[in-house]
């Protein structure tokens, strides 16, 4: 069976959940091979998790330079492997860094790039959800290899034991003249909450929250549900919550099992980032707020009394 490459998305020695989704999706196309690009010793920490999710091979491209250059180490390693194994597909997480790797790899290997897929079938037919979920589009690469950017939270992760045989990849030395050098890396730390795009439940606040201090009402409910916290553009622009938590057209796209919108009116801009959520609950004072048009369950009322009551109910059930 053909080898399908999956670029492992990892931070601080931990595998991001999306990697497991990609290994699950890769099994439909062939035999998954995980590709680890990182500093020496990285693969050893990740190998067990990768094997438990179906990686038959783990290609190890380790070097000190792996963190010193922007996307080039990943592109170099994947391009080397594409040439060697001619995979039907290479799957890469659809974050900012991953898309950059994917786009560059597609150029370098002359492969079709399917960006932001939420589904792929055994015939390499991919499904995109575009314009904030207003359309689904089916497309395929006409080249031997398809480069696929995979949107987190699209499919259920399935565990399956794989051999996880490690194999070292010799990657050519970085070409300084064509590469961008990186220093002072500081990853955004989200604290103890799950990452916004990977979370199963998202609780988001909007203009109706009223102030930065009041956002603790949103956070408290989120923590009772082990949820990520999101914010509308209006809330971010008003300085209530940091930019990286913005959900919408100009922020992140999320697709959790449950999305709870507190004090969010639901402008097109916001809906574009969350309307593919499986279940949507909305609380808003304004009975005419457009968020109610897409909410599975809506309550017209004051979020400052409703949200604490809901928090209490959730805590009661989980204790």
């Amino acid at each position: 069976m053909a080898e399908v490459l999956v670029l492992v998305d990892h931070v601080d020695g931990e595998i991001k959940k999306n990697t497991y989704e990609m290994l699950t999706a890769a099994r439909r196309l062939g035999e998954p091979s995980a590709v680890v690009v990182g500093t020496p010793g990285t693969a050893a920490k990740l190998a067990e998790g990768l094997a438990a999710h179906g990686a038959e091979k783990v290609y190890v491209a380790e070097s000190d330079d792996a963190v010193n250059y922007l996307s080039t180490p990943q592109v170099d390693a994947l391009a080397t492997l594409v040439e060697r194994v001619s995979p039907p597909a290479v799957l890469i997480a659809a974050g900012a860094d991953g898309r950059e790797v994917a786009g560059r790899l597609a150029v370098r290997t002359n492969s079709g790039w399917l960006n932001d897929l939420v589904e792929v079938d055994g015939q390499r037919e991919g499904t995109h959800s575009i314009f904030g979920g207003a359309f689904t589009v089916q497309s395929r690469a006409t080249t031997d290899t398809a480069v696929i950017s995979w949107r987190s939270g699209s499919i259920e992760i399935e565990e399956q034991a794989g051999a996880g045989t490690q194999e070292t990849v010799d990657v050519p030395a970085i070409d300084e003249a064509t590469s961008a050098k990186v220093s002072n890396r500081s990853p955004i730390v989200g604290g103890d909450r799950p990452e916004l795009t990977e979370a199963n439940v998202v609780v988001a606040g909007g203009r109706g929250v009223g102030s930065a201090d009041n956002f603790n009402v949103v956070e408290t409910l989120a923590d009772s549900l082990h949820a990520a916290v999101g914010a509308s553009r209006a809330a971010v622009d008003s300085g209530y919550y940091p930019n990286q938590f913005q959900v919408g057209q100009t922020g992140k796209t999320v697709s959790p099992s449950l999305y709870i919108a507190l004090g969010i009116s639901g402008a097109i801009q916001h809906r574009a980032g969350m309307q593919t959520s499986k279940t949507i609950v909305a609380v808003n004072k304004d009975p005419e707020a457009p968020i109610f048009e897409i909410a599975d369950f809506g309550v017209v009322g004051d979020l400052f009394s409703i949200s604490p009551q809901l928090t209490e109910e959730v805590q009661k059930r989980s204790s």
């Binding site: 979920g133 006409t142 990853p187 809506g298």
Partner: protein
């Protein structure tokens, strides 16, 4: 120093966007078009470099006739001249093909040291054009810049994405994509608007770039769109008035859905 700024006209995100039935490409005629907000920041950054030293700023766009509006806006902000690649054959080009067309078009401007672009257009959202273009040109790409300095043949940026921040440096020539926080673009002055009308716009087709019709557009693309469908609109479900039990009602609903 010669700087090229990539600009792109996109459908206004506040208007309804759709796809064309005929060839499954973005229906650009049916929605309002605007100069992508992020491109104005790229233009602004180029103008700042021009003002602090000696640079000529060329704006480059690939698009249909009405992309002229985006060009005029950039010229009225203060860019010196424009290249407009306008050719029916380009319609439907995928990202890889677009990167190749842009690279060829950059080649029509002499001695380019810096290419500036927005980090993400609001329509295609590939968010990777700067990196792809760098790959085609064989230049380094410095992406998602929050701050940019260019001196002594080196570009340095503060990079910021959802994943974190870092400093990035590379030798010129280079491609830089700018993020939302890099600057506040200026408004064109009346004088700027008048002056823009006299600035040269080099309108060219793909044959001027040494490309063949079958290398671009739907024919040259490495991706084929098979079908598309509007997602069935999500309909609202239950809506209740809070009578002091709103939180409990939500909890009951979530229990019913097995979500808690």
């Amino acid at each position: 120093m010669n700087i090229v700024v990539l600009i792109k006209q996109v459908p206004d995100t506040w208007s309804e966007r759709t796809l064309s039935d005929a060839d499954k490409t973005l229906d650009r005629a049916s929605s309002d078009a605007v100069l992508d907000e992020i491109n104005e920041r790229a233009v602004e950054e180029a103008l700042k470099i021009k003002e602090s030293g000696d640079a000529e700023v060329t704006v480059l766009t690939v698009g249909p006739d009405r992309a002229t509006d985006a060009i005029r806006k950039a010229l009225s902000m203060g860019a010196d001249k424009a290249v407009h690649v306008n050719d029916e054959a380009i319609h439907g080009s995928d990202a890889v093909t677009t990167a190749r067309i842009l690279a060829k078009a950059i080649g029509t401007v002499d001695d380019v040291q810096l290419v500036l672009a927005g980090n993400e257009a609001t329509d295609g959202r590939s968010g990777a054009m700067a990196g792809m273009l760098g790959e085609v040109l064989g230049w380094p790409s410095l992406t998602h810049a929050n701050a940019l300095t260019v001196e002594n043949g080196t570009a340095s940026v503060k990079r910021e994405t959802d994943e974190g921040t870092c400093d990035v440096t590379a030798a010129l020539p280079a491609v830089v994509s700018v993020g939302e926080k890099i600057n506040e673009p200026r408004y064109p002055s009346f004088k700027g608007i008048m002056a823009a009308k006299k600035k040269p716009v080099n309108a060219i087709g793909i044959s001027d770039l040494g490309l063949d019709a079958n290398e671009v557009g739907l024919a040259g693309s490495l991706v084929q769109v098979d079908s598309f469908a509007p997602r069935p609109p999500k309909s609202g479900g239950q809506k209740v008035e809070d009578e002091g039990d709103g939180g409990s009602k939500i909890a009951e609903f979530l229990v019913g859905q097995k979500l808690i």
